[in-house]
Amino acid sequence: MSYKAKFKVWRGEGGEGKLEDFTIEVNEGEVVLDIIHRLQATQAPDLAVRWNCKAGKCGSCSMEINGKPRLGCMTRMSTFSEDETITVTPMRTFPVIKDLVTDVSYNYEKAREVPSFTPPEGVRPGEYRMQQVDVQRGQEFRKCIECFMCNNVCHVIRDHEENKPAFSGPRFFIRIAELDMHPYDVAPDRKETAQGEHGLGYCNITKCCTEVCPEHIKITDNAIIPMKERVVDTKYDPLVWLGNKIFKRSK
C-alpha cells in the first residue's frame, strides 16, 4: 500500500528561502501533515510547521498545498495521484517566520479592534433566555476555528499589504455578523463599523473565503452580503448599488 511520493516544501527563514525536494514514504490513509511529520522525524528535524489537534478542530496547520489554502491534517494523500509532485508552501498573505510557519499577528490585532459582546444592563448570568432558532445563526459563525485561511485567500490583502490597516478580512466580518445577530447584544452600529472601520466595502463578493473555509461556513452569503445590504442606507457601496440596479432591471 505504501509508495514514495515526491514533495517540494518551501524552506527558509528571515525573508529568504526556496522550494526543497524530498522523496518520502506515504502509507494508506495518511494526510499531508503526516508526511510533513515523517520529514521531520527522518530527513529534516528542524522543518517548522504549526499543528495541534490533527483532527481539523484547532486550525493550526493552515498551509498552501499545490497553491490552494488547506489544512494539512484534513488533506488526504489519496486525493493526489502517486506520481504527482506535491508542493507545500506557507500561507502567502502573512510574513514567513520559518518554513511553513507564518506570522499571523495581523489577525490577533484585528480581533482586538472588534468591540466585544455587550449585553444589556441588568441581565444576570443564568437569566438569559434564547430560542434555538435565534442562536443558530450566530452558532454557524462560532464554528470558526481561526485557521485564518479566509483572510489568507482574500485578494484584498493577499497581494496588497497596503490594504491591511483598513481591512479586517472575512474572519472578522463573521465575528461582527455573529455579534450583530446575538439576541442579547446591544452594542450600537455593528454593521456601520464593519463598513467604516473594518473595510467591509472592499469586499467584492468573489466568495474565495467561503470556498476555502474548512468548517463550510457560508461567510459571503450568510455574513458579508446581509451586512452589506443593510449598511447601504448610510454608506455607498458600488456592489450593492450594482446589485440593486441589475435586480430592478430584471423585473
Binding site: P45, A55, F117
Partner: protein, 629 residues
C-alpha cells in the same frame, strides 16, 4: 546576550480553559497577569472537547442538583476523589457556565430558551451544557474573547491593551525559579526566535494539561508533554494519583494515521450503541456489581430510557469510561473485534440521517473527511485511546495552591478532583471552577505576601545552559527517543497492566533518561521543532516514570488503573494516595499518603449499601456512627 525580562504579579502557564479562566480571575482582581502558552492563543487542547460541560442546572430534568452531581462524580472516580474538590465542583459549575453565557457563549437551547443539557456516561440526569459536538471550541473562544474584552477595557483606561493582561504565545517555560521555598518566576524560550525569556513573578499558575504524548495511541495534541507536571516536580511539589490514566473507550482505529482521534461520547449519549463482530450489544455483559442496579438489563429497557428516564434504567453503553474501555479491550482480545481491531459504534440505525448531522456535525465531518465513512449510513470502528490523566499536582481544593508557596495549579495538570476515573463532561466544568479558584488563590497569596521574592541569577544561568545544550551537541535524533518512549508506555503501562511489564517499562525509562541527556538538535534556534522536542522529552520521561512507579505500587484495579495480576478494588487501597516527588530532578520517589475521610454531611448523601462496596469495615463502622447521630 541579555535575556528578555518581564515583571508580572502572576504568570499563568497554559492557555486552555483552566489557564484562561485563571488569568481572567487574576486580572479581574487587579493583578498584572501574563498568559504564557506553547501554541497560538486559542489553539489549546480544550478546543477538542466535544461533549459538553457538566453542571447541575436542572434545565432538562429539575430533579438534578449539586448533590446528585457530587454523588455521580464520586462514584465515577470510585470514591478516590478529593471530596472537597468534587463538592466545590458540583456546587459551582452552574455559575461558571452561566458566566460564559454572559461573556457571549451561545449554547444549544431547550424549548423554553434555557441552556440545553445532554446525557453522558455516569451522569444520572441530562447535565452537559453543549454546542453540538464542539463545546470545547465554544469554551475556548468565549474565554479568549473575554481576555480581549478585558484588554479593551484596559485600553480605554490606560491606553494600552496589554497593561494588565498579556498573552505570550508560542513561548515555552522550561523551569520555575525559586527564592528559598517560594516561587520567584519562570524561565523559557520563544519558539519563534529561540531567544530566552525570563518572567519575574511571585505567583505561577500551572494549567498545562496532560501527558498523552507519552503514548502512541492518544487523543491528545503535541502540547501534551506533561510540562506542568514536570515543572511542579522539579520545583519541589508532589504529584498524586499518577497511576490513573483514562483511556477513552472510543477513539478512531482506522486509518492508521488518525488512530486515537476522539469519537465523542455524545454519540452514545444521543443513542449510539456498541456492537461486536457478531452483532451483539456486548456492554450488557460488562455491568460491574457496583453499578448493577443503575443500568438496564435488556436492550428494550435501555432503548426506552432515552424517552422515559423516570421509569427505565440507562443503557450500559453509558457506564463510566473506564468500564466501557475495558469491555472493548476484552471483546477485541476475545476475537470479536472489527477488521481493523476495534468494535462497532453505530448511530446510523438509531437516528435519522438529518438528526445525526445536526447533533453530531463534527463527528460526521471527521469520519467523512478522514476515514471515508458516512456515519449516517454505516457504523464507526472504535477502540480505546489515551485521553486524560486523573493524576497531577497535589493542591489545596479551595485555592489551587500546591505545597510550594506561590505555585498554583488547575485543570488536568492538577490531581484529586476526578479520583481514579473522570466522568465525561466533568473536565470542562473542572477547568472553569478550579481555573477561577486558582486565579483567586494566586491573587490572595499576593495580597498576603510580605516581600517580593527575588530571581536568582544562578538558577537562570543553569536553566539557560540546560535549554541550550541540545543545540550545542551532535547527539541522537530526539524523534527516535520519543517514539521509543511512546511504544514503551503504550505496550507496557497501557490500559491493562502487569507487574513484570511495568517493571520492564521502568528499565526502559531508566535507559531513556540517559539518552535524553544526549539528544542533539540540528539547525538554528529559529522555530526548530527538533530542539523543542528535545526539551519536552525531559518532562515526558520524568512523568512517565511517575506513572509507571505508581502503577507498579498500587496492587488493585480501580478506575483508570487496571492490574491483570490484582483484579478488583481493595477498600484499604482507597484510603491511600501515592505521592510522587523528586529530590535530584531525575529520579522519582513515592510516598504513601492517607486519603482524608469525607465530611459527615457529604458521606451521609450516600446509601449504606453503596458505600459498603467501597469502604473498609472500620470506615463502615464510622459511617454507622455518623448515621445514628
Amino acid at each position: 546576550m541579555e535575556i528578555e525580562r518581564h515583571e508580572y504579579d502572576v504568570i499563568v502557564i497554559g492557555a486552555g480553559g483552566a489557564g484562561l479562566r485563571a488569568a481572567i480571575e487574576a486580572r479581574q482582581q487587579g493583578k498584572r497577569t501574563a498568559i504564557v502558552c506553547k501554541s497560538l492563543f486559542g489553539k489549546a487542547h480544550t478546543v477538542m472537547a466535544e461533549g459538553g460541560a457538566a453542571a447541575a442546572m436542572g434545565n432538562v430534568n429539575s430533579d438534578d442538583n449539586w448533590m446528585v452531581h457530587f454523588r455521580d462524580t464520586m462514584r465515577g472516580g470510585k470514591f478516590l476523589n478529593n471530596w472537597r474538590m468534587a463538592e466545590l465542583h458540583a456546587k459551582e459549575a452552574p455559575d461558571r457556565v452561566w458566566e460564559l453565557e454572559a461573556w457571549g457563549a451561545l449554547f444549544d437551547r431547550t424549548k423554553d430558551g434555557k441552556i440545553s443539557q445532554r446525557n453522558f456516561g455516569g451522569h444520572e440526569y441530562p447535565r452537559l451544557a453543549h454546542v453540538g459536538d464542539r463545546t470545547g471550541l465554544e469554551l475556548i473562544r468565549t474565554l479568549q474573547q473575554r481576555v480581549v474584552a478585558l484588554q479593551q477595557e484596559d485600553y480605554e483606561t490606560h491606553g494600552d491593551y496589554e497593561a494588565y493582561i498579556k498573552v505570550f504565545q508560542e513561548c515555552t517555560i522550561t523551569r520555575l525559579l525559586k527564592d528559598g521555598d517560594r516561587i520567584s518566576g519562570g524561565f523559557g524560550y520563544w519558539r519563534e526566535s529561540g531567544n530566552f525569556v525570563l518572567f519575574d513573578a511571585p505567583a505561577v499558575v500551572l494549567a498545562t494539561g496532560g501527558i498523552g504524548k507519552s503514548y502512541v495511541v492518544t487523543s491528545n495534541s503535541w502540547e501534551y508533554t506533561g510540562d506542568g507536571h514536570a515543572l511542579a516536580l522539579l520545583a519541589g511539589a508532589n504529584l498524586i494519583n499518577m497511576e490513573f490514566i483514562q483511556f477513552h473507550p472510543t477513539g478512531m482505529v482506522w486509518p492508521p494515521s488518525v488512530r486515537g482521534i476522539l469519537v465523542t461520547e455524545s454519540v452514545r449519549g444521543d443513542g449510539g450503541v456498541l456492537r461486536n463482530s457478531e452483532g451483539e450489544r456486548f456492554m450488557f455483559n460488562y455491568v460491574p456489581d457496583v453499578f448493577k442496579d443503575k443500568y438496564a438489563t435488556s436492550e428494550e429497557e435501555g432503548d426506552r430510557w432515552y424517552t422515559d428516564q423516570a421509569n427505565n434504567r440507562r443503557p450500559p453503553e453509558l457506564l463510566p469510561r473506564d468500564e466501557v474501555a475495558r469491555a472493548i479491550n476484552a471483546e477485541v482480545k476475545a476475537g470479536r473485534g472489527s477488521p481493523q481491531g476495534g468494535v462497532y459504534l453505530d448511530v446510523s440505525t438509531r437516528l435519522p440521517a438529518e438528526e445525526i448531522k445536526r447533533r453530531l456535525p463534527s463527528m460526521h465531518h471527521q469520519f467523512k473527511e478522514l476515514a471515508d465513512v458516512d456515519i449516517t449510513a454505516e457504523p464507526m470502528q472504535v477502540g480505546p485511546t489515551c485521553h486524560y490523566i486523573m493524576g497531577g499536582i497535589e493542591v489545596d481544593a479551595d485555592s489551587g495552591a500546591a505545597s510550594v508557596p506561590g505555585l498554583f495549579a488547575a485543570g488536568e495538570v492538577s490531581g484529586g478532583m476526578h479520583g481514579s476515573n473522570r466522568l465525561g463532561g466533568n473536565s470542562l466544568s473542572d477547568l472553569l471552577v478550579f481555573g477561577r479558584r486558582a486565579g483567586a488563590g494566586a491573587a490572595a497569596y499576593l495580597d498576603g505576601l510580605p516581600a517580593r521574592p527575588k530571581v536568582d541569577q544562578v538558577q537562570v544561568d543553569a536553566a539557560r545552559a540546560e535549554a541550550e545544550a541540545p543545540l550545542q551537541r551532535a547527539g541522537e535524533n530526539p524523534y527516535e527517543v520519543h517514539q521509543e518512549l511512546q511504544r514503551t508506555m503504550n505496550e507496557l503501562v497501557g490500559i491493562i497492566r502487569k507487574a513484570e511489564e511495568v517493571s520492564e517499562a521502568l528499565e526502559v525509562v531508566e535507559k531513556l533518561k540517559e539518552r535524553v541527556q544526549l539528544v542533539g538538535a540540528a539547525g538554528t534556534r529559529i522555530y526548530n521543532p527538533g530542539w523543542h522536542l528535545a526539551l519536552d522529552l525531559r518532562n515526558m520521561v520524568l512523568v512517565s516514570e511517575c506513572v509507571a512507579r505508581a502503577a507498579l505500587l498500587r496492587q488493585e484495579s480501580r478506575g483508570g488503573h487496571t492490574r491483570d495480576d490484582f483484579p478488583g478494588m481493595r477498600p484499604e487501597w482507597r484510603q491511600k494516595l501515592l505521592a510522587c516527588s523528586t529530590e535530584d530532578g531525575t529520579s522519582i520517589t513515592i510516598e504513601e499518603k492517607a486519603q482524608p475521610a469525607m465530611r459527615d454531611d457529604l458521606i451521609s448523601l450516600f446509601d449504606r449499601d453503596e458505600l459498603s462496596k467501597y469502604l473498609t469495615d472500620e470506615e463502615m463502622a464510622e459511617f454507622d456512627r455518623i448515621a445514628k447521630s
